[in-house]
C-alpha cells in the first residue's frame, strides 16, 4: 500500500496548518496516490498536444469530447471517449477486476451525458506455455474475458474490437485497458462541477460497502509476495445496477434540474466531492450518516475511501430535487441529499453532525505533489541491438511453415475465441466489428460513423520507447485510414513499471514525447487518458506499454473489409515493399514466434510518407476503388496476405498469386514490419495507381487474386504455397488450443 511520504505529510500539515487526523490522512493518501494525482507523469503529460478545432473538452474532465458535426436533426453532435486501465485488480481477481474496469470507464462516459455505444479492450497476458505461470495465465485470460463479457453484455454496450498480446513480461502484471466511447448532442454535455452555493449534493446508485477501499493506492505500488492478500481491495461490479444508473442519469439530466455530475470511481466519495468542488471553486459540506450504506459500523475513513461500484454524485438546482428523485425512484435507485455546495472552498465531512475532515478542495484535488523523477539515463532495454550470430549466418528457411507458425501464434492468431464472448452488435450500430483493421460504429440520427482503433506494441517500445510510441500512433491512424476514416483525436493509456527507477522513468518520458510528436504530426490531439505505473512484480517490470485509442470520422457507408472478395482482381501494395535491415528486423513477430528471441530496433518510420499513404488509401476507399483493404503490421506482408485470403465469416477464402522481387533475403522481405504499407484488391488498378501518384506514394502491382490458394514467389522462387483453408484452420483454432489446460 503506498503511503504519504514524510515530505508529502509536511505538505499536508502546511495546507491544513495543523496535524491531519486519520480520516484526513486517508483522504490525502488516495487523492495524492500516483493513480489519482499523476504526480510522476504530470510534468511530462503537459508535452502532449491537446487542442484542435474539434476538441470541445480536453484532459481534466471525466472524458474528452470531440465535435462531429451536424446531425440530420440539424443539431450538433459530439462524441466522448477515454481509456482506463484496471491492471492491478485484474491480476488479483481477474473476473471482477476486468468487469469493474469496464464499469468504471462506462461511468466516465455517461457522467458527461453521453450514451456509451462502443467499448474496446487492450489486453496483455503472460505466455500460455510458460512452464511456471502458464496455467495461471490461462485462468487470468479466461477470468478477464468473462469479466468483460459479463459486464459489457449485460450493460448493453457492444465490445467492438481490441487487441490481445502475450509476453512473459506480463506474467505477474497483466494489462487490462478499456476504451469506451459515447455519443450525445452539444446541448446534452454535463460537467463534474459543484456550482451554485446552497445547491443540494445528491448521492445516487448503489449503496456504499467496504469493497475497494484503498484500490487507488493499491494501483500505485508494486506487487509483492503478499499482494494476493489484497483481494478485498478489488471491487465487485453489478452491470444491471449500472444499466439502471445509466438510464436514470440520462433521464434525470433531461429534466434540466442537474447542474453537475460525476461518477464515483477511484477514491470514491473523496475524489468525486473534492474534484467537483475544485473545478467549480466551491466547497462541499456533507454528512456521512446520510450516505446509503450496505454494511453497518463503517468508519468515516472507510466510507470516504470505499470504491463500491455504480455510484454517482450529482449537484441539483436547489428546489428541484424532487424532479431528480422521481426519476431515480422510477428506476428503483437510491437518491439521497447528503449535503450542500458552500462558498468556502472547503471539503467538510461530517459524521452525525461532527466534523471528521476539513480540507481545502483545490489543494486536495489539484495541488498534489509534482515530481520530476530522475530520468537522465538510457531507457532500460531488455535486449541487445545486434542480431545473434546464428541469425546473420542462417540458411534458407521454409517460409511456408514459418507463415503457419506466425498465423498460429498467440499474438497473430484469430481472437474470435475472445470476441465471440462479447456482444459486439447490441444497439445495432456495428458496421465493422472485431477482427478488422478498425471498428466502425454508425451514429443514428447523423450520416456520420466513428471508426476506432486500439493499439499498443510493448515489443517495439522495449527496443525504443520513442520510436515505438510514434509507430503505434501511426499504426492506429493507418488502421482508421484503411477503412476510410479521417483520424481526429486520441486517448492514451501509459502502462509502465516503477517510475522511481530512472531507467523506467526514462522509458516513460521517451514514450510520452514520442506519442506527443506523432499525435501533433497526425493532428490527433490527446483528449484524456490514464497512466498506470508500478506495473512490477517482485522487481520485474513490464515492458513499456503505451496503448493508443484513436478515433476517426467518416461518412456512414458499407465498410471496406480485409478479405479478398473476387477472383482475378489486381493486388496492389500501396506504399511499396518498404525497407528493413537485420537490426530493424529484431522486434518483429517473426523473430518473436519463429526464432524465439528479440534484438535490435523497431522498424523505421517516415511520418511524412506515412501521412501521404494514409491520404491515398482514404481517397481510394471512400471513392469505392478498393474491394478490400488491409494494412500491414505484425508478421509483415506474408501474414497480411494470408489474412486477406482466409475470408470473413461465411465466406470461402479467395487467395492470390503474388510475385515480389526484392534485394532482401526471403525471410526479411516476406516478414519484415516496415510501416506505411496497405494491401488493396481492386478492379481498377490504374485508378488506384493514379491516386497513389497524386499523393506521391508508391503503388506496386504484386499479383492477382485467385481461388482458394495463396502462393508467394520471392525473386522467382516460390516461398509460400498452400490452400487458404489450411492457413485458416491454423489461424482459427490456435487460441482455443493454447488455452486448453495441460495435464501433467
Amino acid at each position: 500500500m503506498s503511503e504519504l511520504s514524510a515530505s508529502e505529510l509536511d505538505k499536508v500539515r502546511a495546507i491544513l496548518k495543523r496535524e491531519p487526523n486519520e480520516t484526513e490522512v486517508g483522504i490525502f493518501t488516495v487523492m495524492w496516490s500516483e493513480h489519482c494525482s499523476y504526480k510522476s507523469s504530470r510534468l511530462h503529460l503537459k508535452k502532449l498536444p491537446t487542442k484542435s478545432d474539434r476538441v470541445l473538452v480536453g484532459p481534466g474532465e471525466n472524458a474528452g469530447i470531440i465535435d462531429i458535426g451536424e446531425g440530420v436533426d440539424g443539431k450538433r453532435w459530439a462524441i466522448a471517449f477515454k481509456i482506463e486501465s484496471h491492471n492491478h485488480p485484474s491480476f488479483i481477481e481477474p473476473f471482477q477486476g476486468a468487469a469493474t474496469g469496464v464499469g468504471g470507464i462506462l461511468r466516465d462516459i455517461f457522467t458527461m451525458g453521453a450514451r456509451p455505444i462502443a467499448v474496446m479492450d487492450a489486453l496483455r497476458f503472460g505466455t500460455l506455455d510458460d512452464p511456471i505461470n502458464g496455467e495461471r495465465n490461462k485462468r487470468i485470460v479466461e477470468g478477464v474475458v468473462s469479466g468483460i463479457s459479463h459486464y459489457g453484455n449485460c450493460f448493453g454496450v457492444p465490445t467492438v474490437g481490441g487487441e490481445c498480446v502475450f509476453e512473459p513480461c506480463y506474467n505477474g502484471n497483466p494489462l487490462v485497458n478499456v476504451f469506451a466511447l459515447g455519443i450525445f448532442r452539444h446541448d446534452e454535455i454535463f460537467f463534474g462541477r459543484a456550482t451554485g452555493i446552497g445547491n443540494p449534493v445528491i448521492y445516487v446508485g448503489a449503496k456504499t460497502g467496504r469493497d475497494g477501499i484503498h484500490g487507488a493506492s493499491m494501483a500505485s505500488s508494486e506487487f509483492t509476495e503478499d499482494s494476493m492478500q489484497k483481494r478485498p481491495n478489488v471491487q465487485v461490479g453489478d452491470p444491471f445496477m449500472e444499466k439502471l444508473l445509466l438510464e436514470a442519469c440520462l433521464e434525470a439530466m433531461r429534466t434540466g434540474a442537474i447542474v453537475g455530475i460525476q461518477d464515483m470511481g477511484a477514491a470514491g466519495l473523496t475524489c468525486s466531492t473534492c474534484e467537483m468542488g475544485s473545478r467549480a471553486e466551491t466547497g462541499i459540506e456533507f454528512d456521512l450518516a446520510l450516505v446509503p450504506q450496505r454494511e453497518t459500523g463503517m468508519t468515516p475513513t472507510e466510507i470516504m475511501l470505499s470504491e463500491s461500484q455504480e455510484r454517482m454524485l450529482l449537484v441539483a438546482e436547489a428546489g428541484r430535487e424532487n424532479e431528480v428523485f422521481s426519476v431515480f425512484k422510477k428506476w428503483g435507485l437510491d437518491a439521497v441529499t447528503i449535503g450542500r455546495v458552500t462558498n468556502d472552498g472547503i471539503l467538510r465531512v461530517k459524521d452525525h453532525g461532527v466534523v471528521v475532515a476539513e480540507i481545502p478542495n483545490r489543494e486536495l484535488a489539484d495541488e498534489a505533489p509534482l515530481y520530476d523523477r530522475p530520468h537522465n539515463t538510457a531507457p532500460y532495454r531488455p535486449a541487445p541491438v545486434e542480431p545473434p550470430a546464428s541469425f546473420t549466418s542462417r540458411a534458407d528457411r521454409d517460409c511456408n511453415a514459418d507463415l503457419a507458425t506466425l498465423l498460429g501464434s498467440g499474438d497473430l492468431c484469430s481472437k474470435s475465441w475472445i470476441w465471440q464472448q462479447y456482444d459486439y452488435m447490441v444497439r445495432t450500430n456495428t458496421i465493422a466489428g472485431p477482427g478488422g483493421d478498425a471498428a466502425i460504429v454508425r451514429i443514428k440520427d447523423t450520416d456520420t460513423s466513428v471508426a476506432m482503433s486500439l493499439d499498443g506494441n510493448g515489443r517495439y517500445c522495449a527496443l525504443s520507447p520513442r520510436e515505438g510510441a510514434r509507430l503505434l500512433v501511426a499504426e492506429c491512424c493507418r488502421n482508421l485510414s484503411t477503412v476510410g476514416a479521417m483520424p481526429v483525436a486520441a486517448t492514451n493509456n501509459l502502462n509502465f513499471g516503477n517510475p522511481e527507477r530512472p531507467e523506467i522513468m526514462a522509458q516513460l518520458v521517451e514514450a510520452i514525447e514520442g506519442v506527443g510528436e506523432a499525435c501533433s504530426f497526425f493532428d490527433t490531439p490527446i483528449t484524456g487518458g490514464n497512466v498506470s505505473l508500478y506495473n512490477e512484480t517482485l522487481g520485474e517490470a513490464i515492458w513499456p506499454t503505451p496503448v493508443m485509442g484513436i478515433v476517426g470520422l467518416m461518412k456512414t457507408a458499407p465498410p471496406v473489409t480485409i478479405p479478398f472478395k473476387n477472383e482475378g482482381r489486381t493486388v496492389i501494395l500501396l506504399g511499396g515493399l518498404g525497407t528493413c535491415d537485420e537490426t530493424r528486423f529484431g522486434g518483429t513477430q517473426y523473430v518473436k514466434s519463429v526464432l524465439n528471441t528479440l534484438w535490435g530496433l523497431p522498424p523505421a518510420l517516415d511520418m511524412d510518407y506515412e501521412k501521404r499513404v494514409q491520404a491515398a488509401i482514404r481517397k481510394i476507399v471512400v471513392e469505392g476503388h478498393a474491394e478490400s483493404a488491409h494494412d500491414l503490421s505484425g508478421g509483415g506482408l506474408a501474414v497480411a496476405l494470408a489474412e486477406c485470403s482466409m475470408g470473413g465469416s461465411g465466406m470461402t477464402g479467395i487467395g492470390a498469386a503474388i510475385e515480389i522481387s526484392s534485394p532482401l533475403p526471403a525471410d526479411l522481405a516476406l516478414f519484415h514490419e516496415a510501416p506505411s504499407r496497405i494491401l488493396v484488391s481492386t478492379a481498377v488498378p490504374e485508378v488506384v495507381e493514379r491516386i497513389a501518384r497524386e499523393n506521391n506514394v508508391e503503388a506496386l502491382r504484386i499479383g492477382v487474386t485467385m481461388k482458394s490458394r495463396l502462393r508467394i514467389d520471392h525473386n522467382a522462387v516460390t516461398r509460400i504455397d498452400s490452400p487458404v483453408d489450411w492457413f485458416r484452420g491454423v489461424f482459427e483454432n490456435a487460441l482455443e488450443g493454447q488455452l486448453a489446460p495441460q495435464h501433467v
Binding site: K243, T428, T556
Partner: protein
C-alpha cells in the same frame, strides 16, 4: 401497424427492436414500461433481448412477475401476436406462455455471432412470408440459449408443427437444434436469434426482416386484436 416494445429494467435490445420496426420497416412503434398494466393501442408486442432485472435467479424468472406480463398474457389469450427475442424468449418460457426451458450454453460461454437458421414451417404469423426450408442468417448473442424440453413436450412441438426455426450450426447445444418455437395457438413465438439485428442492409444482413414482414402481412389480413 403498431408495435409495442416492452421495456423491463435491464432490457437492452429494446431500442434495437424499436429501430428495426419503425426505422428499417417504417411502422409505428412505442415502448411499454414494465409496470404498466395495459399495453395501449398495439397490434403486436415484442419482448426484447437484454438482462431483465439483471437476470438474477434465472433468466426471465423475475420479469414474469412484472405487471406488464399480465397484460401480455391477456393480449396473447385473445390472439394478439407476441414475439420474444432472446431474453424475451426466456421470459415467455418462464411465464409459461411457451413450453420448455433455456439452459446455459453447452460450452458455458456467452456466444455472439451470426448463425444460419432454417425456416421449419410457414404456418405461423411469423414466417408466413418465408418459404419452408429457407435459410436465414441471423445473429445470436446469449449465454443461456440452450433449448430444453422433456420428451413429451418435444414430441408435441414436432407433432403440432410448432418448431419455427432450427439452427443449421447449433451454437448452444439446443435440443433438436431448436432456435424458435410457437405456442399451441401459434400467435406467441420465442426465438434466441435476433431478427432486429438483421434488418438493416448497412449492418450486412437483412434476413431477419421476413419475420417482421410476415407479422405485418398476417395482421393486415386479419382484424387486429384490441388491447
Amino acid at each position: 401497424m403498431r408495435f409495442g416494445v416492452v421495456v423491463f429494467p435491464g432490457s437492452n435490445c429494446d431500442h434495437d427492436a424499436w429501430y428495426a420496426v419503425s426505422k428499417n420497416l417504417g411502422h409505428s412503434a412505442q415502448f411499454i414500461w414494465h409496470d404498466s398494466s395495459s399495453l395501449g393501442e398495439v397490434d403486436a408486442v415484442i419482448l426484447p433481448g437484454g438482462f431483465s432485472y439483471g437476470d438474477y435467479l434465472r433468466c426471465g424468472a423475475i420479469a414474469k412477475f412484472s405487471p406488464v406480463m399480465t397484460a401480455v398474457r391477456d393480449f396473447a389469450s385473445r390472439g394478439g401476436l407476441v414475439v420474444g427475442i432472446c431474453n424475451g424468449f426466456q421470459v415467455l418460457v418462464e411465464s409459461g406462455l411457451l413450453p420448455g426451458a433455456l439452459l446455459r450454453n453447452r460450452e458455458l460461454k456467452f456466444v455472439c455471432r451470426p448463425v444460419t437458421i432454417r425456416v421449419e414451417t410457414t404456418n405461423s404469423p411469423f414466417t408466413c412470408r418465408a418459404s419452408k426450408g429457407q435459410t436465414l442468417i441471423v445473429p445470436v448473442a446469449h449465454g443461456e440459449g440452450c433449448y430444453f424440453a422433456d420428451d413429451a413436450t418435444l414430441a408435441s412441438l414436432k407433432r403440432d408443427d410448432r418448431v419455427i426455426f432450427r439452427y443449421m450450426d447449433n451454437p448452444n447445444g439446443s435440443l433438436d437444434d431448436i432456435a424458435g418455437i410457437c405456442n399451441q395457438s401459434r400467435n406467441v413465438m420465442g426465438m434466441m436469434p435476433h431478427p432486429e439485428r438483421a434488418a438493416d442492409a448497412l449492418l450486412g444482413c437483412t434476413d431477419g426482416r421476413v419475420i417482421f414482414e410476415s407479422m405485418l402481412q398476417f395482421l393486415s389480413a386479419k382484424k387486429p386484436v384490441l388491447a
